[in-house]
């Protein structure tokens, strides 16, 4: 593929908004996403061959999606946007030197689902809209089959039209739990309860943020009404203290929390279930940004200025990756990024007096305030780490127990997450610490740090050995396809 002005990594709300805003202004865009279709997590679609005639039943703000989709189709038709789906970006390289904007970026992506070959896309500018993923704090037996993330339950439902079980408990903390419980109930699961660890009173001090976002108020009320309609019990200040089962979850223990977020003695109840959808908020995907040298905020998200620019020349970021805040905020940020790209690539500056620019900026401010409010209102149980007993596996990939983590701290001199990892292997597995990071940090009593890795995805060595680079940045870069096949027909197997 010929070199583009702009590559956008991630076709969720932020990436779509950025690509569309840039294309509206005449920028040639390539939009990459790992999924078979655009939409990201928020607008994850039922697989086409399922022929869902009323997919909107699984979404809120369906109209927003259909509008985005129509605009995308128009720009695909007019050649401004190329959409590359089933592309798993494993590394982005800065072509040219570190100090200059010249040279742009080389985006290396594995072609899925097989992910045995790679392609390189070159662009002058890059918008990272890589989204976020769910944070889950460990608890006893959380590794039982049937225990999954709330977002995962929703993703499986949206894409595959399947339920995780017949009797599902939804628990944890965060705004995602409500829509997950609502869609599971709507799709026919018996939701045995939604157990939210925060107190409803936690929302009171932030009335202005809520009032400034009447749409959000209405949305919340809608979910609550749906849950009531399906007879789903919603309990605040409750937490799952343990899962139970032998080879699959059979029940959870739920307990009440006091005002300090600690379990109240004697309040534990057993709730039978065959699936637990659990989550404690979201974390941004920041690996690609970090590898490119972008700074992170104290909260671990990609730091950006008012135009959504990182400190790396010609690198923008938008959406959850710059701070968790939901789809509407992601779209506002994406729009600002796309406009900024268009203007900056032609050597100008955004017209901050323009009504459209200001509109997006105001929307972003309003939604950021709302997200900040949610962030402080939703908290997991304060004493969760105390319930992680020594046998509980805290690193799922490498099966590292809490005991090993504690030993690293108390006996072996580990004072940070990196050293805990070196001594115990926690964080060295397939997921490279994305899932276990917060849990290990909490159990170890050290600060959490984002999982830092130059490979955003595992990459076959044969592909890595042949990967093209942006070194030919002066000319249109041909798509270089690197194959993973072994050079000799004799493939050694174990």
């Amino acid at each position: 593929m010929a070199r583009r002005d702009l590559a956008v990594v991630g076709a969720g709300p932020a990436g779509l908004a950025a690509a569309l805003a840039a294309a509206d202004a005449g920028v040639r865009v390539v939009l990459l996403d790992a999924a078979p279709a655009a939409g990201g997590q928020f607008y994850r679609q039922p697989a086409k061959p399922l022929y869902a005639r009323r997919p909107q039943r699984l979404y809120h703000a369906w109209q927003t999606w259909t509008t985005l989709r129509a605009r995308l189709e128009a720009h695909v038709a007019d050649g401004r946007i190329s959409v590359l789906t089933d592309r798993h970006v494993w590394h982005v390289e800065r072509a040219g030197s570190a100090d200059t904007a010249a040279g742009g970026f080389a985006v290396h992506a594995l072609i899925g689902p097989a992910q045995q070959s790679s392609e390189t896309v070159a662009a002058d500018a890059l918008v990272l809209a890589t989204g976020g993923y769910e944070r889950v704090l460990p608890f006893p037996n959380w590794t039982l089959p049937g225990v999954l993330t709330a977002g995962g339950a929703q993703a499986m439902l949206k894409a595959g039209l399947v339920l995780p079980g017949r009797r599902v408990v939804v628990a944890g903390s965060g705004p995602l739990l409500l829509p997950v419980a609502a869609s599971l109930a709507a799709a026919g699961a018996k939701v045995e309860g939604l157990y939210e660890s925060s107190a409803p009173r936690g929302f009171a001090p932030h009335a202005s943020a809520l009032l400034g976002n009447p749409g959000k108020l209405a949305e919340g009320a809608q979910y609550a009404a749906e849950l009531a309609r399906h007879g789903v019990r919603v309990r605040f200040r409750h937490t799952v203290t343990a899962a139970h089962g032998t080879d699959r979850i059979e029940a959870v223990t739920v307990a009440r929390l006091d005002a300090a977020g600690r379990v109240i003695e004697g309040s534990a109840r057993r709730v039978p279930c065959d699936a637990l959808a659990v989550g404690h908020g979201m974390l941004p995907h920041v690996e690609i940004a970090q590898t490119l040298g972008a700074e992170l905020t104290g909260a671990g998200s990609v730091a950006v200025d008012a135009e959504q620019r990182t400190g790396v020349p010609n690198l923008w970021a938008a959406g959850e990756t710059t701070g968790i805040g939901g789809a509407a905020l992601a779209m506002a940020e994406g729009e600002i990024a796309g406009r900024s790209v268009a203007v900056r690539l032609s050597g100008g500056e955004p017209d901050r007096t323009a009504a459209s620019w200001n509109g997006a900026v105001r929307t972003r401010a309003r939604l950021r305030a709302f997200a900040a409010m949610l962030e402080s209102a939703y908290t997991p149980a304060a004493d969760w780490a105390e319930r992680v007993d020594d046998e509980t596996i805290v690193c799922r990939c490498e099966e590292v127990s809490a005991a090993a983590v504690r030993e690293a701290v108390t006996e072996l001199g580990a004072t940070d997450l990196r050293t805990v990892k070196l001594l115990t292997r926690a964080g060295m597995g397939w997921c490279q610490g994305r899932i276990c990071g917060p849990g290990v940090a909490g159990v170890a009593g050290c600060p959490a740090a984002p999982a830092r890795t130059p490979f955003a995805r595992p990459v076959p060595l044969g592909v890595l050995a042949c990967s093209g680079s942006g070194s030919d940045a002066d000319t249109d870069t041909e798509t270089r396809t690197a194959e993973a096949t072994s050079p000799s027909p004799d493939e050694g197997t174990a």
Binding site: L412, A414, T415, T419, W430, P454, G462, P487, G492
Partner: protein
């Protein structure tokens, strides 16, 4: 935790592998030791290597002598009951995962093989066990090795450990023996008496008095030397490692291409890469090795990773379909003549150094610790330490002069048959 004012015999700056070994041997020898570390144990280069314990890549001379002693000491340490941990059923995390796996050096051309055999002959004369392996014998040792090699030499004395765990376990045992450990503690000053003798340290958490101060700060050894009013030309030499998904035993030994030795010996600042491939007890295969002098540049280099992947898949074609999960980098502490600084600093009474081991720090740590303990207790060291004298570089323009591309200024002469880029 504030450092309570204390006296100790030996204050060690740096709790990497070398500092840990020095703390362990000194404590064993009856010294009161304080071990200071600005980050965490194994926080520097120790956490960024592969855990090599090698004699195979050492050329005859002081470094080989040191390596032979150290390999033996590693074996002794590995069999100390106190280094087995309680979780004995697990493969990974057991003790420090010592594997006496042996090393296999392979050559891809007949001339390279001849040079390799010459090298092995010299090493054998000094006590290294080295077995020549003809091309058709390689498959017995390594069934998945490329059939297109000219031959190799097998070194049964080579071994591997998990370096972070090894350092941490040595430190733990030293602490149990009476040493004190101070992590997250940065040394800001090395204090001296009016006659210039070192007598203690000032840190950001308090002061302490010590009869001796040991610079075990690895790649940052130059900074510490400066604090003590002297000079040690340690420079960083960046290396990358690729880590694969967990695999069954695909690679049985440490396997590396013969040009690795030339790369180690090179003084060029430019990128040197040669294939080094080994399995680990936990399952992943580690792939190295690259060397370049780029200061402390921590940014990832896809071109280097690409070369490492290419070279590894040339040696082991089956690796082409294996997934690389991550890559990490570290900075080897590099000295102009590729030999560490070990021993008392004649320029500063009371100051000792144990740093600059470049890529051999893990392997050479026990010998370093053992020899220093001997010095500190007034015994004659088991090895002549003249070649490791910390003041051997003078105070000349080492920071500038020996960075020349042609290796001018390096005290190390290339061996016959080797030059930069030799195919080994």
């Amino acid at each position: 935790m504030e450092l309570a004012p204390r006296d100790c015999d030996l204050a060690i700056i740096g709790a990497g592998m070398t500092g840990a070994a020095c703390a362990w041997y000194a404590t064993r020898a009856g010294l009161r030791v304080a071990l200071l570390e600005r980050g965490a144990v194994a926080g520097g280069t120790t956490g960024a290597g592969e855990g090599n314990v090698l004699v195979s890549d050492k050329e005859p001379g002081p470094e080989l002598d040191l390596a032979l002693l150290s390999v033996r000491l590693w074996q002794e340490l590995a069999h100390e009951p106190l280094f087995a941990d309680s979780d004995g059923d697990r493969v990974a995390g057991h003790g420090f995962e010592y594997e006496a796996k042996g090393g296999l050096v392979v050559a891809s051309s007949t001339s390279g093989f001849a040079a390799l055999e010459d090298f092995a002959r010299e090493q054998r004369a000094l006590g290294v066990t080295a077995e020549t392996v003809p091309a058709d014998g390689l498959a017995d040792l390594e069934p998945h090795l490329s059939p297109a090699l000219a031959g190799g030499v097998y070194y049964p004395q080579d071994a591997q450990v998990q370096p972070a765990r090894a350092a941490a376990l040595l430190v733990r045992d030293a602490v149990r023996g009476g040493a004190s450990l101070h992590t997250n503690t940065t040394v800001t000053e090395v204090t001296r008496t009016p006659d210039g003798t070192v007598d203690g340290l000032v840190t950001d958490r308090g002061t302490l008095r010590a009869s001796w101060v040991l610079n075990a700060a690895g790649t940052w050894g130059g900074e510490v030397a400066k604090l003590a009013g002297t000079h040690l030309p340690v420079l960083p030499r960046r290396g990358f490692v690729l880590v694969t998904e967990p695999l069954p035993k695909l690679v049985r030994h440490k396997v590396y291409a013969a040009d690795y030795v030339a790369d180690v010996a090179s003084s060029s600042a430019a990128l040197q890469t040669s294939a080094v491939v080994e399995g680990t007890a936990a399952g992943p295969v580690l792939i190295g090795a690259s060397r370049e002098r780029v200061g402390f540049d921590r940014s990832f280099s896809l071109p280097v990773a690409r070369l490492l992947a290419q070279q590894a898949t040339e040696l082991f074609p089956a690796l082409a379909e294996v997934q690389a999960m991550r890559s990490y980098l570290g900075f080897r502490p590099y000295m102009p003549d590729h030999l560490p600084a070990i021993g008392a600093d004649p320029r500063v009474p009371g100051l000792l150094h144990a740093c600059g081991h470049e890529g051999a720090g893990i392997g050479l740590a026990p010998a370093t610790g053992h020899l220093l303990a001997q010095i500190l207790t007034g015994q004659a060291p088991d090895l002549d330490l003249a070649a490791f004298r910390p003041d051997r570089f003078g105070d000349g323009d080492w920071d500038a002069g020996w960075e020349a591309e042609d290796g001018r200024g390096a005290a190390h002469a290339p061996r016959a048959g080797e030059s930069e880029g030799a195919d080994g």
